[in-house]
């Protein structure tokens, strides 16, 4: 009796299961998704599929690019399924690139599919492609072992740790799209020759791209956003001219709303660094002046960046959220902040400590 039951159960299992069974070689691993504005329809979805090879070696990466236009992303992907012979596996998509044209309006609608759809990683990277996502995906770098690997390595900070590359994850982008007092941003990828150039950041309000930061501002922005050190500052204060390599960076800010006078944002930053490239500084000179020079130039560039952002009412660093977190007025805070931000003044105070003058004095 018991044996019979076990056999019955086993047969039942064999019959009902196995629907999810699909071998890895019957799947196409999608490594990157690109979404552009379609010419006829709303979207043009491009998928970069990896073609696995038995031997993996640099420069030998094989991939297949497929694209289709549709009025929704899911529709385009549905069509794409019919074009290929294996199952599309979106679970490995590590990066989503949005074409620049698409980022001009209603960005939150485009992202609905990515969040709603099961199987898309929340930790996938998002980026803006210039001029279009498809151009970015068509490029395969020489050193790549694996299609799309160089982008994954760049954004994951596993390979290069460039100070120009800001990283944005899907979950964080979605958070910023909805959050009051914190605005979304994206790194911008461009193609230069046969490599990628990632040194800009695009700032969004809740709907579209408002501001494109140039590389220098991007570097400062990244330092403020991720509190990451390891970047260089060109200090140019007469008579000194040198490059400061930042080893250690800490900052905090608060928003002060005095009852009389304008509200201001007080940002205090502490920087430790070493001089990297200079022909003007001397080991035996007073370091105070050298530090002063660096402080001034850092203060200037930070203030420049903050004012650029506030002029456009953009708040990717979450000043508004901080304002609301430190006040206790409930719903009213948001309205207050919206009136405060345009006239907010920035007071930046940087304290630089020079730890050395490099290997030579």
């Amino acid at each position: 009796m018991k044996k019979l039951m076990i056999i019955m159960l086993f047969l039942l299992l064999i019959n009902i299961s196995g629907c999810g069974f699909k071998d890895i070689d019957k799947r196409f691993l999608v490594v990157a998704i690109g979404v552009d504005k379609g010419e006829v329809k709303k979207y043009n979805v491009t998928l970069k599929l990896i073609i696995p090879t038995a031997l993996v070696s640099p420069g030998q990466s094989k991939y297949q690019l497929i694209h289709y236009e549709g009025d929704s992303i899911s529709e385009a992907i549905e069509y794409l399924r019919s074009e290929i012979d294996k199952q599309l596996d979106l679970g490995h998509a590590k990066i989503t690139i949005i074409g620049e044209a698409l980022a001009q309006d209603q960005i939150s609608n485009h992202f609905d599919w990515f969040i709603r759809r099961r199987g898309i990683q929340r930790i996938e990277y998002v980026a803006l492609g210039q001029p279009s996502a498809k151009d970015i995906l068509s490029l395969s770098q020489q050193s790549e072992r694996l299609a799309g690997n160089s982008l994954i390595l760049s954004f994951g900070h596993e390979g290069t740790e460039s100070s120009f590359i800001v990283t944005e994850y899907l979950y964080d982008f979605y958070e910023r799209l909805l959050e009051k007092g914190k605005d979304p941003f994206m790194p911008v990828i461009r193609v230069r020759g046969d490599t990628y150039e990632i040194n800009k950041a695009a700032l969004f309000d809740k709907e579209q791209v408002k501001l494109m930061l140039d590389p220098n501002d991007t570097r400062m922005f990244k330092a403020l956003l991720m509190k990451k050190s390891n970047f260089e500052v060109r200090v140019k204060e007469d008579p000194l001219e040198y490059t400061l390599s930042v080893q250690h960076l800490r900052y905090h800010f608060k928003i002060v709303t005095p009852s009389n006078g304008d509200p201001y944002l007080q940002l205090d930053m502490k920087v430790k660094g070493i001089a990297e490239e200079s022909d003007t500084i001397q080991f035996h000179e007073s370091w105070n002046e050298i530090e002063r020079a660096a402080e001034q130039s850092l203060e200037r560039s930070i203030k420049q960046l903050l004012e650029k952002m506030s002029a456009q009412q953009l708040d990717p660093l979450g000043f508004g959220l901080r304002y609301m977190a430190t006040r206790h007025d409930g719903e009213k805070e948001w309205e207050d902040w919206q009136s405060i931000y345009p006239k907010l003044q920035f007071r930046v105070n940087v304290k630089v400590t020079l730890e050395g003058t490099g290997e030579i004095n």
């Binding site: 064999i14 299961s17 699909k22 071998d23 890895i24 070689d25 691993l29 490594v31 993996v56 690997n149």
Partner: protein, 449 residues
């Protein structure tokens, strides 16, 4: 008083055997009849202890008195005992209506040899022999305690195998001992020849996968377990002992563990648990990852797996079954084969077959790694019985991962742990966290799953 007639009637059956000898020894007025199995007895004993005294004997003594003073010689009053004594290697002497038996068994199996199954690097090297008394000797040397109690029993209608129950009086739990004795008394078979058989006869459950008693050949391990209050069962003719009750941890620990420092021995135990986990889940994980959830690992690894599998024409579980079949047969073959052929078999099977199968596109190279990993890692488990059991356990895991993917593996792991936790060895829990329990070596043993 036993008459010569009675005696010869009793041994008449044995007379047919060619190795059964009868001798008549005569000196002066004394006359004795000697019966023995030539194959069992040491003739030196007969010569030194019967023939010589018979000749040298002084006039005043009768030979009966000589025999009575002889060590290992006793008088038998019941004629029916004679045949059994003969079969146990005794010489039966008939002197003037008295029957004496003299222990003259030629023992060839009491040579102490080095441990082969449970070899150790730093611990003692010698292990139990196939002789019961020699074994008792070895154990008593290691465990010189007056509380060490030995109880002899005889099992098997034909084999009449001697069995010794050893335990430390006072440390052993009374109910465990009673349970074991009760189980032993219920055994009713013709022939008993191995510990596995005894273990099966002593446990009620028919469908059983894991060993409930520990089979060891090392006297030091036996001593350790005696000090932990366990019961040791020795069978005559078997160079190892059974220890009950056993817990799962016993099968994961080696005797060497106590020779190392704290961190070394504990990391080795941890390593074994990890090995255990790998050996039962790895083939199942391969199926789950290849066929259900490639996204668990990072994309770079997934692509390598996909690449290596590109030429394999059938689903992953077939691949796993093929390779598992090859490796299991290889292990079985190399155990049974003579040493010299065994090496050739492993080379052919392991190296050439694996390499060729991968090149022919029958299996992926990742699968080759998985297979050899599973086999190697299985050998880490110190006790053979457990490593056999673990070889079987991986198949339910493979089945469940075939049906449910990674979910199936986790569910199987959970059920497996529950199955172990539900097991009992002679009323004692088998698998749990042993925290704060008495440790005979001063080592704190901890168990994780």
């Amino acid at each position: 008083m036993i008459t010569i007639g009675e005696l010869s009637r009793t041994v008449k059956k044995a007379m047919d055997s060619s190795d059964f000898k009868t001798a008549r020894l005569q000196h002066k007025h004394e006359e004795l009849l000697v019966y023995y199995y030539e194959s069992l007895c040491d003739l030196k004993v007969l010569r030194e202890r019967i023939s010589a005294p018979l000749v040298k004997r002084s006039e005043e003594q009768t030979f009966t008195e000589v025999l009575q003073s002889e060590l290992g010689c006793e008088e038998v009053h019941d004629v029916s005992e004679v045949v059994e004594k003969l079969l146990r290697g005794c010489i039966v002497i008939y002197v003037k209506d008295h029957v004496f038996v003299l222990q003259a068994l030629k023992v060839l199996t009491d040579q102490v040899r080095e441990a082969t199954v449970e070899a150790s690097i730093e611990g003692p090297h010698y292990c139990l022999t196939e002789n019961l008394h020699m074994n008792l000797n070895l154990i008593r040397q290691r465990y010189p305690s007056k509380d060490l109690t030995a109880k002899e029993k005889v099992l098997g209608r034909i084999s009449n195998t001697k069995l010794i129950l050893l335990y430390h009086e006072g440390l052993v739990q009374a109910e465990v001992l009673a349970h074991i004795e009760q189980q032993l008394s219920r055994i009713d078979v013709d022939l008993i020849q191995s510990h596995g058989q005894l273990e099966a006869l002593m446990t009620k459950k028919k469908y059983r996968l894991f060993p409930l008693m520990l089979n060891t050949e090392r006297p030091d391990r036996i001593a350790l377990n005696l000090a932990q209050g366990k019961v040791v069962i020795l069978l005559d003719g078997i160079p190892s002992a059974l220890i009950a009750p056993a817990v799962f941890y016993d099968f994961i620990s080696a005797v060497d563990d106590t020779t190392q420092s704290f961190f070394v021995s504990h990391s080795i135990v941890l390593l074994r648990y990890m090995a255990l986990l790998i050996t039962i889940t790895l083939p199942a994980l391969y199926i789950a990852i290849v066929s259900y959830n490639p996204e668990i690992f990072r994309v770079q690894l997934a692509v390598s797996i996909a690449g290596s599998r590109a030429s394999v024409p059938y689903p992953s579980f077939v691949e796993v079954f093929i390779m598992m079949f090859i490796i299991e047969t290889l292990i079985e073959a190399s155990i049974r084969l003579p040493k010299y052929i065994g090496q050739a078999a492993t080379t052919v099977g392991g190296l050439i077959l694996g390499q060729a199968a991968q090149q022919a596109g029958l299996v992926s190279s990742i699968m080759i790694i998985v297979t050899s990993m599973v086999a190697i890692v299985n050998f880490v488990i110190p006790i053979n019985a457990m490593s056999y059991a673990m070889r079987v356990v991986k198949y339910p895991f493979i089945l469940l991962s075939m049906f449910f993917g990674i979910t199936g593996i986790i569910v199987a792991l959970f059920c497996f742990s529950m199955y172990l936790a539900n097991m009992e060895s002679f009323g004692q829990p088998y698998f749990k966290l042993f925290v704060g329990e008495k440790s005979a070596t001063g080592y704190k043993h901890k168990e994780t799953s």
